[in-house]
Amino acid sequence: MRQETIRRLFSLALLFTLIIIFGTTSKYFLTPNNIFTLLREAAVTGILAVGVTFVIITAGIDLSTGALVALIAMICARLLYSTTLSVPVILLIGAIIGILAGSLNGFLVAKLKLPDFIATLSTQGIFRGLTLVFAIREHGVISNKVIQNPAFIILGGHINGLYLATIAFIIIAVIGQFILRETRFGIYTYAVGANLKSANLSGINSDRVKIMVYTISGLCCAIGAFFLAAKMQSATPEMGIGLEFDVIAAVVVGGCSFSGGRGDVFGSVIGTLFMAVLTNGLYKYNFPAAYQIIIKGLVIVVMVIFDSMYQKFMEARTTKAKKLEDMYAQGNGPETGVAQ
C-alpha cells in the first residue's frame, strides 16, 4: 500500500474514533442539527486550512491567519458601516487586502529570506494592530457594531440546514485539491517543499511559488473572514485569536509534514473535521474552554512528534545511504528545520 494511503487512513481512523466516542456517549451528537452546526463551525477553519496546506507543503508556516481574518472582517464591517459601497465591492476589497497581506508574507519569506515563523508572527502583530486601528469607535471607545446589511448577512445563511459557509468550504477544498494535484503549480508546490535545490535546478522559480502559496493563504483568510463576520454579524478586534492554531492542528492531523512535500487538501479537510468534532464534543460535555486550549495544544505536540517519528521511519525504510549529518542531527534539536 502506498505511504500516502496509509497516512490518509490514519487520519480517517482518528476522525472516526472520535466520532464513535462522541456518537455513542452523547445522544445529541449525531443529530442532523448538530452535524450542520458542526460543519458550519468547521467551515472557517477549513477554508483557512486549505490555504495553509499549500504553505506547509512548501515547508513554510503561516501564523498570521487568525489576525488577518480579524483585519479583513474589521475592514469589511467598517466599510459596511461608514460607506455606501455595495457588498460585492466590499468583498472585492476584502479579497484584495487578503491577497496583498498574503503576498507581503510571501515577500518576507521568499525575497528577504526571513524564517517563516518570524515573518508571519511579526505580521500577525501588525495585522492585529491594524485591526484596532480600523475598529469603529464611539466617544473614543471601540464599539462592536452589529452588521445589518442584508446582502452581507446572507453569507451567514443556510439552504435546508446546510450553511453557505460549509458549501463554500467544500467548493474551496475541491478547487484547492484540484490545483494541488492537477496543475503545474501544484506539482511545483510539492517540489519546492520536498527538495528546494532540485526544484530550482529544474527551472522552477521557487521564490514565485513561495509568494504564491502565501498569497493563496491570504485569499483564503479573506474568504474565511467574510463568512465569520456574516455568522457573527459583527467584527471585533479579538475575533480569530488562536484561530491559526486550530488551522495548524487541522493541517498536521491531516498529514502535512513540517519538513515539507507531504500532505494534501483532502487530508486537511479530514483534519478540520477532526478538530471540529473535538471542539464540538468537548463543548457538549461542558468542558471549560481551558480544556479545549490544552487539548488543541496537545494535539499539535503529539502530531508533530508523530510526524517526526514517521519521517524517520520512512527514511530508514527507503534510503540506506543517509548523509552523515543526519546521523548526528538526530537529537541535536537546535536546528529549527524551518530556518534553512
Binding site: 502506498r2 505511504q3 500516502e4 492537477e182 496543475t183 503545474r184 503549480f185 506539482i187 510539492y190 517540489a191 517543499g193 520536498a194 527538495n195 535545490k197 532540485s198 526544484a199 535546478l201 529544474s202 527551472g203 522552477i204 512535500g261 507531504r262 520512512m314 527507503t318 534510503t319 540506506k320 545511504a321 552523515l324 549529518e325 546521523m327 548526528y328
Partner: protein, 507 residues
C-alpha cells in the same frame, strides 16, 4: 567525414583563481559509444564535465556538437543540445511520482492544468523503446537507488538527449543492481545514445567502454580503443609513472609494540562487513579504497559516532564504548573528513575552536572557564602548528583551508593521545601545508600514538603509512604490510583489479 562524431571538445582550458585545472584537454565522443573518462582525484574530470553541462564556462577551446560549434553558458543550453548528466547524489523530488519527476519543470499542460495521460503515455513509450522498466505512478521515495537512477535516465531521455553523462553511477548500487545498469547502458548504446562514463572502477570500465580518455593533472594522457590496452597500462597512464620508477613508493613495515586498537569482525549492514585489523603503538595504518567503500564509516564506528551491528573494538585490550565523550577522555581523537561541517565551528574564533574538546583538562571539574589558561593553551597550539595569522581571536571561517585544518589538528594535540583517527587529512590544502600535516602525523607516531589515516590521495597514503589496508565495497580486500608498495598496487586493489586478475587479463 565526422559524421560519427557526436561531440568534440578541443583545447579546453580552465583555471580557478589562477590555478590551471584543465590544460588544453581534448575529448571526442562518437555516436552510440560508451566513452569512459578516468583519472585520479583532481585530474580535472569533474571540471570537464561541468563545462560540458554548462555549469562552468571554459576559458578557451572549442566545443562542437553534431558538427556545429556550440557555446554552453548554462545548464539549460546543454539540455537543449541534448546533453544530460546523472549525478551521484540524485536530484529527484522524493514525494512526487516517477512521471511527475520526469516532466518536472516542463510539464505538458493546457492553461496550467496537467495533461497527465499524455505524460504517462510518453513515459511508457520511452520505457518500451529503450527497454527500461519502472512503475510510472510510483512515489520516488519508495524506489531503490537503482530504480531512481532509471528515473534519472528516463528524464534525460525525454529531453531527447543524445549524450548522457554518468558520474560514478554504481557507487551506491549492489552488484546485481549494477549488472542491470550495465544492461541498460548497452540498450541505450544500441539505440544510438552516447554515454560518457566516469568511474574509478576499472573493471566496469573494461566491461563497458568502447574508448577511454585518461586525464592526469588537467592534461590528456591518452585515448585508448577497446582491446588496445590492458588494465595495468591504464593504471600506469593514470598515475604517470613507469613500473621501474621507484620514487614515491611506500615502504611498508611491521611493528611489534603493543596493540593499541584491535578491530574484530566489525560489521554494519549495507555499509561494511567483517572488518578486522590491529594498530600498534607508534604505527600509522593507512586505509585506502574508493569513495563509498566504507572507510569513513569504519572510522566513525571506532570513534563512537556511528552505530555498528556486530563485531568488537578493543582499545588497549578493553572493549571501546560507543560514546564519543568517553572515547575522547580515553585518548582517542578524530580529524573528520569534512572540515567545515564536521570539524570546525566557523563563527567562533581560533581559541574557542581549539579549546572546545579540552575543557575537561583546562578546568577539570570546575564549571568556570579559566580564560588565561584557555588562551595560553591556544597560543601554544598556534605556535606549535604555525597557524597563520597567529591572532587567536580570528574567526576560523576567515582562515585558509590549510590553517583551518591545523586548527582541527590543534584541538587534539595537548590531550596525551593514544589513538588518532584522520580522515582525508589534506583534502583541498596547499602542498606546503600538506607537508606540515604529514610531519605532525609522523611526529605523533614517533611519540607512540597509533594513527589511522583514511585517504583518497595515493601519494599521501604511501607517504605516511606504515601499513595499508584497502577496502572495497565495505570489505578489506588487501593488506600491504611488507616491502615496497606503489600507487599502482593500491589503485589496482581499490578499483577492483588485483595483480592476479591483471596478469590473467594480459595473458
Amino acid at each position: 567525414m565526422n559524421n560519427d562524431i557526436l561531440l568534440s571538445a578541443r583545447d579546453i582550458e580552465k583555471s580557478f583563481s589562477g590555478v590551471k585545472v584543465l590544460k588544453k584537454v581534448n575529448l571526442e565522443i562518437r555516436r552510440g559509444e560508451v566513452h569512459a573518462l578516468i583519472g585520479e582525484n583532481g585530474a580535472g574530470k569533474s571540471t570537464l564535465v561541468k563545462i560540458l553541462t554548462g555549469a562552468y564556462q571554459k576559458d578557451a577551446g572549442i566545443i562542437r556538437y553534431n558538427d556545429t560549434e556550440v557555446e554552453l553558458n548554462s545548464r539549460h543550453d546543454a539540455i537543449k543540445l541534448g546533453i544530460s548528466v546523472i549525478y551521484q547524489e540524485l536530484s529527484l523530488i522524493p514525494t512526487l511520482t516517477v512521471t511527475q519527476n520526469i516532466f518536472l519543470g516542463r510539464e505538458k499542460d493546457t492553461a496550467g492544468i496537467l495533461n497527465k495521460k499524455s505524460m504517462r503515455k510518453k513515459v511508457i513509450e520511452i520505457m518500451d523503446y529503450y527497454g527500461l522498466s519502472v512503475d510510472p505512478d510510483a512515489i520516488v521515495e519508495t524506489l531503490s537507488i537503482a530504480q531512481r537512477q532509471i528515473v534519472e535516465i528516463l528524464k534525460a531521455l525525454t529531453f531527447e538527449s543524445s549524450l548522457i553523462i554518468m558520474d560514478e553511477p554504481t557507487a551506491s548500487l549492489s552488484s546485481k543492481e549494477a549488472e542491470s545498469l550495465f544492461n541498460i547502458i548497452n540498450n541505450l548504446k544500441q539505440k544510438n545514445v552516447s554515454i560518457l562514463y566516469i568511474s574509478h572502477r576499472l573493471e566496469e570500465i573494461y566491461r563497458l567502454a568502447d574508448r577511454i580518455t585518461i586525464l592526469r593533472d588537467g592534461k590528456n594522457i591518452a585515448v585508448l580503443e577497446k582491446g588496445q590496452t590492458n588494465p595495468t597500462d591504464v593504471i600506469r597512464f593514470m598515475i604517470g609513472k613507469e613500473l621501474a620508477d621507484t620514487s614515491g613508493l611506500g615502504r611498508m613495515r611491521r611493528n611489534d609494540k603493543n596493540v593499541v586498537l584491535k578491530v574484530n569482525k566489525l560489521s554494519c549492514k549495507g555499509v561494511f562487513a567483517d572488518i578486522s585489523f590491529e594498530v600498534h603503538e607508534g604505527e600509522v595504518l593507512g586505509i585506502g579504497g574508493l569513495v563509498g567503500s566504507g572507510r569513513t564509516e569504519v572510522l566513525h564506528s571506532i570513534y563512537g559516532a556511528k552505530k555498528y551491528d556486530s563485531g568488537e573494538i578493543l582499545f588497549n585490550g578493553k572493549p571501546l564504548p560507543s560514546s564519543i565523550i568517553k572515547n575522547i577522555r580515553a585518548g582517542i581523537a578524530m580529524i573528520p573528513e569534512d572540515r567545515r561541517n564536521q570539524g570546525l565551528i566557523p563563527l567562533l574564533d581560533i581559541t574557542r575552536n581549539i579549546a572546545a574538546p579540552n575543557y575537561d583538562r583546562l578546568s577539570g571539574r570546575n564549571i568556570w572557564v579559566k580564560a588565561k589558561e584557555e588562551l595560553a593553551f591556544c597560543k601554544e597550539a598556534i605556535l606549535q602548528l604555525d597557524i597563520r595569522p597567529n591572532n587567536p581571536e580570528i574567526q576560523v571561517m576567515n582562515l585558509s583551508g590549510g590553517n583551518q585544518q591545523k586548527v582541527v589538528v590543534g584541538k587534539w594535540l595537548m590531550r596525551n593521545l593514544k589513538l588518532l583517527l584522520v580522515d582525508e587529512p589534506t583534502a583541498g590544502i596547499d602542498i606546503g601545508v600538506k607537508e606540515e600535516i604529514y610531519n605532525i602525523i609522523e611526529d605523533l607516531a614517533s611519540k607512540g600514538v597509533a594513527v589511522i589515516v583514511v585517504s583518497s590521495d595515493l601519494k599521501e597514503l604511501l607517504r605516511v603509512s606504515h601499513r595499508i589496508i584497502v577496502l572495497r565495497n565495505g570489505r578489506i580486500i588487501k593488506e600491504f604490510n611488507d616491502g615496497f608498495v606503489s600507487q599502482e598496487d593500491v589503485l589496482k586493489a581499490a578499483s577492483g583489479i588485483t595483480r592476479e586478475e591483471a596478469e590473467q587479463f594480459e595473458q
